[in-house]
């Protein structure tokens, strides 16, 4: 290193020298008691109001949940529900009715809820072909769809376990003897409809095997318009999940009686899964979920408690 280098380095003000001498201007936060108390109080004062607001939003949502998997099995078959559901000769229609507890403002979202259904099982999640869904038959690479990739030596479209096990219960809603119109368009993600499922891909060779899983598809409608399939193929995160079925675009008044005619086709009986029908409005936050608000309030109040305990201890115990 030459002398001039040294000379410039000795220049304490140069940024490089500050860097090499590890004396860059720095903020050195220290958890002094004042800071601790302020921080915890601050967290509390932010979290409790946020929690209350979210709780309020959650309470503004009206939600109706009706379990129907047991009720829809006629009394004589309740001993062996699996053979009931597997027997095609028995009609599966069923109806249930409920009273609207509160005024529900449109849009009212209709969900079906499955429980103990492992849509996130590795074997299940992997059993699909994104390429095929987008490009159709001429695409190879359907080996990922095992074990439901071919039937009679011809590829299945859409292939894979997810499509094969398509949920196929259907619901119609009647209020005051008049059918409530259910809008079943735009229930899937926009990007899915436009970019994941091909507009020119039509169901082919689907549910033609010996073992039929779930619902069938209309082979004249392209996959991008098969919204039930698209919704179903967005696999759920947890074994109990809701999926969007449609929207009722009319308000429901208090004490309106809604009768639901449903086709109870889907087999959840063999693995003990529950099926529920859910009608729910939404708030700015989404559906009815008290957890978030309660968690906010809990964290906020623990913060305040810590602040108080800390302050007391701080004042009581003398500094060494």
């Amino acid at each position: 290193m030459t002398d001039t280098d040294r000379g410039t380095q000795r220049d304490r003000d140069s940024a490089f020298s500050l860097f090499t001498q590890q004396s860059l201007p720095a903020c050195k936060p220290v958890l002094t008691p004042e800071w601790v108390i302020m921080t915890f109080l601050f967290i509390g004062f932010i979290f409790i109001p946020v929690g209350l607001v979210t709780l309020r939003a959650s309470h503004s949502v009206v939600e109706i949940v009706e379990r129907y998997d047991i009720g829809c099995v006629p009394e004589p078959f309740r001993i062996d529900k699996v053979s009931y559901i597997q027997d095609d000769s028995i009609p599966k229609n069923c109806s249930l009715s409920f009273k609207v507890p509160k005024y529900m403002k449109a849009p009212i979202y209709i969900y079906y809820q499955l429980e103990n259904y492992y849509q996130n099982h590795r074997r299940y999640v992997k059993s699909r072909s994104d390429k095929q869904l987008l490009h159709g038959q001429n695409e190879h690479g359907i080996s990922s769809c095992q074990p439901v990739e071919v039937n009679n030596d011809r590829p299945i479209i859409p292939c894979g376990l997810i499509a094969w096990s398509l949920f196929n219960d259907t619901f119609t809603f009647i209020r005051n003897r008049a059918e409530l119109k259910v809008n079943r368009k735009n229930i899937a993600w926009k990007s899915d409809r436009e970019h994941k499922f091909g507009k020119n891909v039509y169901p082919f060779n689907f549910q033609n095997g010996t073992l039929i899983g779930g619902g069938k598809l209309n082979p004249t409608i392209p996959l991008s318009d098969q919204e039930d399939l698209i919704v179903w193929m967005r696999t759920s995160a947890l074994p109990s999940f809701r999926k969007l079925y449609g929207r009722i675009e009319k308000d429901l008044d208090v004490d309106d009686v809604v009768v639901v005619h449903l086709m109870n086709n889907y087999n959840t009986y063999s693995f003990g899964g529950k099926k529920k029908l859910v009608l729910s409005t939404t708030s700015w936050l989404g559906g009815k979920n008290d957890f978030l608000g309660l968690a906010y309030v809990f964290i906020g109040s623990s913060s305040v408690t810590i602040a108080v305990v800390f302050t007391l201890l701080h004042l009581l115990s003398p500094r060494h």
Partner: protein, 1194 residues
């Protein structure tokens, strides 16, 4: 080519020793045999004979890798680490259906990590390669026989047998035989700085027979054959024979010019290439230093094993449940989860063979939870350490302006060990003292000369509690001008007044010995200025002293020494020429040096100086006139910390000399292995019947800032051992001078110089002596131990000599000795040999199990430096061997304070925090995967998209942790030095002990639980947006991942204490990068991005719930650590917390006031008398450590 040979041989005047007057006619016994088979055909590199020998070329490569083997070799190095092998196996298995995620996503991070490490290796090696290229392409003039002239050739094209011409200030390209030089007496001067670091010039001398070949024309005819030893690493030996003109001439190191040394003060030389390239001595000497690993790294390995066990356990639990669930898929002949098609399944999910499926799933689990093992840990640590050592090298506060030497971290892997040093083992000379000698006193004919007090004497007086009289320390301003190496004041002798002293003849002889008995070379700088180039600073001090008194040594050549002295009778200065006949050189074994001269009166004289013990036993009966008094004086001098030497002479009988000389010359020219022994014996023969003249005392000056530095280190609770070859008295006094031994400290002396042992020694029964010594030492140790235990409130200093030490190191005694030593604040081992130094270092290391640091500057410290956990070399004047063997090199001892207390503390803290944090972030991440597994019936489905996971360690969390490892400072450098107790955090390893590591791991587990359960409960289930959409698998993955990235980065922000823009950039940049990544990755076609397609833009960003969940989860996950830290800092603060709080409010604290009082008082008193409360605290701490380590030892 006109060539004027230098006539005025101003520089070519010395041939003090080994002047070859005759060439040996003896057949060199070993030449031609095994080990001595090299043949060089001079000036005939193209001859058939030479080519057939196939000696290596002069191409040199010091690189670790070559272009061909770089990839395989460095890969091999990489996969010697267990963790890396694991990742490699995972990468291989990832192509099979076992893998829970796609193969590229696991291979990419591995490639990045391995690639980064390999790139680092490659860059380091490339630098070496550039140096090689530079060296290989240097130009040298090589003789071309066809044109009878020299032409420029690259170094690498040089061949054995080539004739080369090297000009002034050029490096020698290979090991050469000196043929002739620009000087008529065919000498040349070389500087061997690159070989041994010595800056003084060395004289080389060609054989007289080759001196004729001094022009390009004459060289044409030159033919000779050299037979010599094979390549070896001994720098100071060479055995060979020159066959020239039908005659044989033996060759010695005097004729050999070594590669990488430099030609000085000589216009040019001609030489023959003997050894080339890797055969040269300097290349043969290049060895890799022993590789050392730090304690933290070793513990880190154990943590990795813990994590591996956790990984296996977790996988096992997972596969157990998976087996049960899979088994349940087939209940009573019916398939339950029909949507998984258990009827048409693979072996991995087969309900009919659940055990096999579970076993295979266990392998899947091992891959899935592999995120528990931080893949980028090793490479991150390496990057951090390299950057840390750059900071150490760049530190201006450790830069020595005088010598232009910055501190240098020679290895980067020991940085954090610097913060954990428990014991320092220090050399004395050149380390604590600066090895610059000043002639201060002398005793001539039993009279003391030289007044004034040395620093050591002042310390000594203070120790005795004497009041200092007005006798001020020797003050340089007193004299007209201060002369380096000379601090002697006595009006009785100075300015020619010695003539009137009663024994002026003895004084005259005394100074004549000093002026002639040496190997120094004078350099006339001006009319009145002469500098001396001497082998040791003592020697220079003597010559300077003689000059100042009036015996000016001003010129020397091979055969004579010229002095300009005062003639006592006439009172004028006259030149006297002493014919120099022989020099019997100084060696550490002989401990003396003498010259045989013929004075102008034609008297043959042997002039000798040496260690008192050696000289006194060689005195004649008549020569002992002043023995008693001189002995007394020497005793007094060494008490004052001075280095003493006795001076004597002898008049030689002409005949005696003649017979002796013949034998001596014969011995000298013999080339057998026992030549040295023979010469020593002959020297002994003539060095007898001496007449004592007196003794000299030279002050070994303390290095700047040593006492302060030692005081600081002691206050930091570091034990200091001084290992020195000096006498006990000198060592103790230096101990006082540099505040190793303090006022009020009790001394424990363990010695064998006891009357009963001495009595037995006279009897001479070796076994009896050994037994008695052992018993005596045992007794002394036990007594000292009980004393130390009784008076636990006093500090003790242990002083032991080398001989006693050999007994104390006995198998049965060593534990109790180390136990005793550990309880003493200071240990001084005097009279210890280099080997003992290394043995002690190893013992301290193994018995205490703590980190030891050895510091030294000389070749005799090399063993110690390599043995210790950390070796620190002082790049002082004593050469480069210590530095070459060290891990860190500093220019001054006092820089050790900063190196340990500041850099050591920081690096220790950084690395330990970094490793803890690494485990934290990977456990947090890994366990969220596990919790998710529990909700997928342990099927092995990862919660996140493959590429989120593979980027986790490499992109979203790596830079902040590197910033932590490189830049974090708990307290500033100034405060580190102000509060040395802070250093105890490292010594006691409280930042990296198991509770802390497990605490961090637990925190990781807690974070993962909070993240998983809060996220799933908040976001899944009901609609997560106003438009009624529900969160699916991909949304949950993104939300959880966002929370993980935020949480681990904010934990980092909570745990670092030092935010510069770099930290801000890295931490917040990493989080921002996650969002950017998500947008970019989400916008590539869905067949590639799969679940990540538009997930942020379309699904998450419009959802307020997503953002609120992130806030909730991050704060909730930070809360445990934040509250723990808050309470811990307030109610159980650690040292650095305390200092940080003090820094905030400096005016209102008692602690600070104590500190201020302390610094004032220590300034006032200079000796380190600490205020009692503080001292007590230090004491208690060191006592605790002592006991703790003793416990380990027993």
């Amino acid at each position: 080519m006109a060539r004027i040979r230098k006539r005025s041989i101003q520089l070519s005047k010395l041939c003090s020793f080994a002047c070859c007057r005759s060439s040996s006619q003896d057949e060199h016994a070993q030449i031609g045999q095994k080990g001595y088979s090299r043949v060089v055909y001079c000036n005939e590199p193209d001859s058939q004979e030479q080519i057939r020998l196939r000696y290596r070329g002069n191409y040199v490569s010091t690189t670790k890798y070559t272009a061909v083997n770089f990839i395989p070799k460095s890969l091999f190095e990489q996969f010697r680490r267990v963790a890396n092998i694991y990742f490699l196996v995972v990468a291989c298995v990832s192509f099979s259906p076992l893998a829970p995620y796609s193969a590229p996503s696991i291979i990419l991070p591995l490639v990045v990590v391995i690639g980064a490490t390999m790139a680092k290796e490659g860059v380091e090696d490339w630098r070496r390669n550039l140096q090689d290229i530079e060296a290989n392409n240097r130009k040298v003039e090589v003789y071309d026989k066809s044109s009878c002239s020299f032409r420029q050739t690259k170094w690498k094209d040089l061949r054995v047998g080539d004739l080369v011409k090297v000009c002034k200030d050029e490096y020698f390209p290979a090991d050469l035989l000196l043929l002739s030089s620009s000087y008529e007496d065919v000498v040349c001067y070389v500087e061997t700085m690159n070989l041994d670091g010595e800056t003084n010039l060395k004289l080389k001398h060609a054989l007289n027979v080759t001196s004729f070949y001094s022009s390009a024309e004459s060289l044409k005819e030159f033919r000779a054959v050299i037979k010599c030893e094979d390549p070896n690493e001994h720098l100071y030996s060479f055995i060979g024979t020159l066959y020239f003109d039908c005659q044989q001439y033996s060759l010695s190191p005097q004729q050999i010019l070594l590669r990488d040394s430099k030609l000085k003060n000589t216009e040019y030389i001609f030489g023959v290439v003997i050894f080339t390239g890797h055969d040269t001595k300097v290349m043969q000497n290049a060895t890799d230093p022993p590789s050392k690993r730090t304690k933290i790294e070793r513990r880190m390995d154990r943590i990795i094993y813990v994590l591996f066990s956790t990984l296996i356990l977790v996988s096992f639990i997972g596969s157990l449940f998976f087996g049960i669930e899979t088994n349940n898929d087939l209940s009573g002949g019916n398939y339950t989860r029909w949507y998984l098609r258990p009827d048409k399944t693979t072996v991995f999910f087969d309900p009919r063979r659940p055990a096999v499926a579970a076993f295979l799933h266990c392998l899947t689990g091992l891959m899935l939870y592999g995120y528990l093992i931080p893949i980028s840990l090793y490479v991150s640590i390496e990057i951090c350490k390299v950057l840390q050592s750059i900071f150490i090298n760049q530190d201006q506060a450790m830069y020595d302006e005088e010598m232009d030497r910055p501190a240098h971290a020679r290895t980067s892997n020991l940085n954090e060990e610097l913060g954990q040093v428990h014991t320092i083992l220090s050399d004395k000379t050149g380390t604590l003292t600066c090895n610059s000698m000043e002639f201060v006193k002398c005793s001539i004919a039993g009279t003391l000369y030289g007044r004034g007090m040395t620093e050591v004497e002042i310390a000594l007086a203070r120790k005795r509690g004497e009041q200092l009289t007005e006798q001020a320390p020797i003050d340089a301003s007193e004299s007209k001008k201060s002369i380096k190496g000379f601090n002697f004041r006595d009006e009785r002798i100075m300015d020619g007044k010695w003539v009137s002293e009663p024994q002026s003849d003895v004084i005259q002889k005394f100074f004549r010995v000093l002026a002639t008995c040496h190997t120094a070379v004078p350099e006339v700088m001006g009319p009145d200025e002469i500098m001396y180039e001497a082998e040791s600073p003592d020697e220079a001090a003597f010559v300077i002293a003689a000059r100042e008194v009036g015996f000016e040594f001003f010129a020397r050549n091979q055969t004579s020494i010229k002095l300009r002295e005062l003639d006592p009778t006439s009172g004028i200065r006259v030149d006297r020429v002493y014919e120099l006949l022989h020099v019997l050189e100084f060696s550490s074994a002989r401990k003396r040096m003498s010259v045989i001269v013929k004075n102008p009166e034609n008297q043959l004289l042997l002039l000798a100086k040496g260690a008192d013990s050696v000289i006194f036993e060689r005195l004649s009966k008549e020569g002992r006139a002043y023995e008693e008094r001189t002995k007394e004086h020497i005793e007094k001098y060494s008490e004052a910390g001075l280095r003493t030497m006795a001076v004597a002479y002898r008049e030689l009988d002409n005949d005696e000399y003649k017979t002796w000389e013949q034998e001596f010359l014969k011995a000298k020219t013999s080339v057998s292995a026992d030549r040295d022994v023979l010469m020593d014996e002959l020297a002994c023969q003539i060095e007898r019947d001496l007449i004592l003249l007196g003794a000299t005392a030279v002050e070994d000056k303390l290095q700047k800032g040593v006492p302060g530095c030692i005081d600081k280190l002691a206050r930091a609770g570091i034990g200091i051992w001084v290992l020195t070859g000096d006498k006990r008295g000198t060592a103790i006094n230096i101990g006082y001078a540099c505040s190793l031994l303090r006022h009020g400290m009790k001394q424990i002396v363990i010695t064998l110089e006891l009357p009963e042992i001495l009595a037995q020694e006279k009897e001479g029964d070796k076994e009896a002596i050994a037994e008695a010594s052992l018993n005596s030492i045992k007794l002394q140790i036990l007594k000292a131990k009980s004393q130390v235990t009784e008076e636990s409130s006093t500090e003790f200093g242990l002083i032991i000599d080398g001989k006693s030490l050999t007994y104390a190191m006995d198998k049965n005694l060593v534990n109790s000795f180390m136990d005793l030593a550990m309880r003493c604040a200071t240990v001084i081992c005097c009279r210890s040999s280099p080997k003992q130094k290394a043995v002690i270092t190893r013992l301290v290391k193994s018995v205490t199990g703590r980190t030891t640091l050895a510091i030294g500057d000389g070749a005799n410290d090399v063993g110690m430096l390599q043995e210790a956990d950390i070796g620190v070399g002082i790049s002082g004047v004593e050469g480069m061997q210590a530095v070459m063997a060290s891990d860190f090199a500093i220019a001054q001892f006092r820089f050790l304070e900063r190196l340990l207390l500041v850099h050591g503390h920081w690096c220790y803290r950084r690395i330990s925090m970094m490793i803890c944090y690494f485990f934290y972030k990977n456990i947090t991440f890994g366990f969220t995967l596990f919790w998710f597994e529990a909700y997928t019936s342990f099927s092995g489905q990862p919660a996140y998209n493959d590429w989120y996971m593979s980027c986790y360690n490499v992109f979203f969390t790596s830079l902040p942790v590197i910033a932590l490892g490189v830049f974090d400072q708990d307290v500033s450098a100034r405060l580190c030095l102000k509060h040395p107790l802070l250093y105890q955090e490292g010594v006691r390893n409280i930042l990296f002990n198991w509770p802390r590591i497990l605490g961090w791991m637990f925190n990781g587990l807690l974070s993962s639980i909070i993240i998983y359960f809060l996220t799933t409960n908040s976001i899944t289930g009901p609609a997560f947006r106003k438009d009624g959409q529900v969160a699916d698998y991909s949304v949950l993955g993104v939300t959880m991942y966002t929370c993980v990235v935020w949480t681990v980065n904010c934990q980092m922000a909570l745990s670092i204490n030092y935010f510069t823009w770099i930290q801000h950039l890295f931490i917040w940049g990493s989080i921002a990068f996650w969002y950017i990544f998500l947008v970019v990755y989400g916008s590539i076609p869905p067949t590639l991005s799969t679940t990540a397609y538009k997930v942020l833009v379309e699904a998450c960003a419009p959802s307020i719930l997503y953002w609120l969940t992130t806030l909730l989860v991050v704060i909730a996950a930070l809360l445990p650590l934040l509250s723990y830290r808050a309470f811990q800092i307030r109610f159980r603060p650690m040292e650095h917390d305390r200092i940080q709080i003090q820094r905030r409010r400096p005016e209102s604290t008692e602690y600070d006031a104590t500190q201020r009082r302390l610094s004032e008082s220590s300034e006032a008193r200079t000796s380190s008398e600490l205020p009692s409360e503080f001292k007590h605290r230090c004491l208690k701490k060191s006592a605790n450590i002592g006991i703790a380590s003793a416990g380990l030892g027993v």
